[in-house]
Symmetry: C2
Subunit: 357 residues, 2 copies
């Protein structure tokens, strides 16, 4: 073991700081009760001695590793990158760390969960990925809370936090209708994902209510990515035999952006003059000058806080909360890809912040 | 402890699979010698029993946690998101996991390193963030290899893997000169970061060699972000008293993209007719139809492999390799933001892949 040397211990730190060893241990344990001034004194002594507590060893007694696993299924969608960033920052503030697992989009996360369990993590957050109900049961049996972020697993008792995707789909349909659209198209995402399914369902339901015929709502799969949506949009609009739809719903922003770029660059279409476009998520990229996308904002900060509250990281003795499903309503953000009807002008003035750099 | 239950042990798995306990342990230990068929038999038995090995407990004997820490300083630049994705996938293939730490851009990572050390990680990868030389010493003293990804710390003996940023800056200057540019501007990144400094240095050096005066090379800071570069570009080109430069070097792609969008949308400028633009990184986003950015490609796969080879994850007894600094040459990718001079047509036809969706 050429890499190991003698190191200072918590005893040395306690001696230098003039406190007991248990105070040193509390100073490094997130959520422990300790006066801030004492904590600072301990940290200063630790720094001087290059002392670092061994979280791994202490986890064997506390049964807490202070690690939360985040399973990510689609890093091609910037929304999930923002989600990762947000969780990472919040968990660090709370003295926890994120163990990142990536799985291929659409792939099952069962293997990732088996790996997660080996690390005795304090909790699991699963985004944009599939998971079998058997795996959520295994996590629960082992005392590890799991929260599904922005999806749910039918038949599972895992708790989830999500935007009300169906209601958001309805909001976009409503905006198109208010702007006078009569025929519609959707670029959809992962057909196995509840997020895409729900947005589509809400969108279509609202249109049918208005008397739109199902044949006037076209649908094409866009692979949940910029590139996939760009190809899909061209397939949809090139060499058409029937008239083009008035409005296009990209069921997430990155797909709406891919479609806009392809249709403008390749087919010279003007937006919203030739085609209205609506998105979903309100990723920061959607605010950029070439897009100024009208979209539904997912309240990501709120969703992150809800997730953390279900995980109960500060109170591991609390029973795991199962079956929680509290959809959070998104907000329609009016920008420039759907003409704002007079009745909505007031809302548009108040919510449509753009990159006016 | 309401969250804990009795679980099957490696003894149960060994009995079911008909192997010894040490074979079970080898089956779950990345890099162990074990026949693939035997490994599969053990995994099948483990699945049946819902058995999961405890990596944390076994790390106390093996001194290996199979966790690698990745410290990220700038998630606003998609290049580092791709870096994270790439490391995450490669390390998972190798049976390792990524512990993610984010620090504010430009902020020191010393606190993150102290946290990293608590988790007894097998190695540290640091990207786009500052670090004191003292912290690299602490890692080395504790036997933890650290690799700086795409930067170096002057005066430190930490090993690093990076693109030859100065040479890449020269390549962009060369392309502008070949296309006939006479006056120049740069949008620069983190002034404390070696990446930005080196790209600027190479770019300016090449221009000075060609007899361009330093006063004909303007410079403005763009905060390494899309939004920062959009503002900087407008500041640079709006209400000018002197003639506009012929060519703009965004020292990373995301800044070049921000500048292009702002100049086109706000000032109606055409690229490359009114202004040539060059970038650096070749992020997938730079290939998109509205950008088709001429840029320098960082060989990210190669850089990731180099980093992993320096970490020696499979052979922890090996001495930590210090002071390695092997700059890897990037490749100029001709697309549409710099007119291709006749002498370069051949190169352009062969390297300028675009999103031709």
């Amino acid at each position: 073991m050429t890499r190991l040397r003698s190191r200072s211990t918590s005893f040395d730190v306690a001696a230098l700081a003039g406190v007991s060893q248990s105070v040193v241990s509390r100073a490094f344990n997130p959520g422990s009760s300790i006066a801030e001034e004492t904590r600072k004194k301990v940290i200063a002594a630790a720094r001087k001695l290059n002392y670092v507590p061994n979280s791994i060893a202490s986890s064997l007694t506390t049964k807490r590793t202070n690690i939360v696993a985040l399973i990510l299924g689609n890093m091609a969608n910037p929304f999930y990158v923002h989600v990762l960033h947000n969780f990472s920052q919040r968990l660090q503030e709370m003295g926890r760390q994120v163990l990142t697992f990536t799985v291929d989009p659409g792939a099952e996360s069962d293997d990732a969960i088996m790996r997660v369990l080996q690390y005795q993590v304090d909790g699991v957050i699963l985004t944009s990925a599939q998971l079998s109900t058997r795996m959520t049961s295994i996590c629960h049996e082992r005392g590890i809370p799991i929260v599904l972020f922005n999806r749910y697993i039918p038949g599972s008792d895992a708790s989830g936090v999500r935007c009300d995707n169906a209601a958001g789909g309805r909001q976009i349909a409503e905006a198109f209708l208010a702007a006078g659209a009569k025929s519609f198209a959707m670029i959809t995402g992962d057909p196995k994902g509840t997020t895409s399914q729900d947005r589509v369902r809400g969108f279509v339901e609202r249109l049918l209510e208005e008397g739109i015929r199902r044949t006037d709502i076209e649908e094409i799969e866009g692979n949940s990515s910029y590139e996939g949506a760009a190809s899909a949009a061209l397939k949809l609009f090139k060499n058409r035999k029937r008239p083009s739809p008035d409005a296009l719903f990209g069921i997430n922003d990155i797909m709406a952006m891919g479609a806009m770029d392809a249709l403008r660059s390749r087919l010279g279409m003007r937006i919203p003059d030739d085609l209205m476009v609506g998105g979903f998520d309100d990723i920061p990229e959607a605010r950029r000058l070439p897009y100024q996308l009208t979209t539904v904002r997912q309240p990501i900060d709120l969703m992150v806080e809800e997730t953390l509250s279900i995980l109960h990281l500060d109170d591991p003795t609390q029973q795991i909360e199962r079956g929680i499903d509290r959809p959070i309503t998104g907000k329609l953000i009016w920008r420039n890809t759907i003409p704002v009807p007079p009745a909505y002008r007031w809302a548009a003035d108040n919510s449509g912040e753009t990159d006016a750099s």
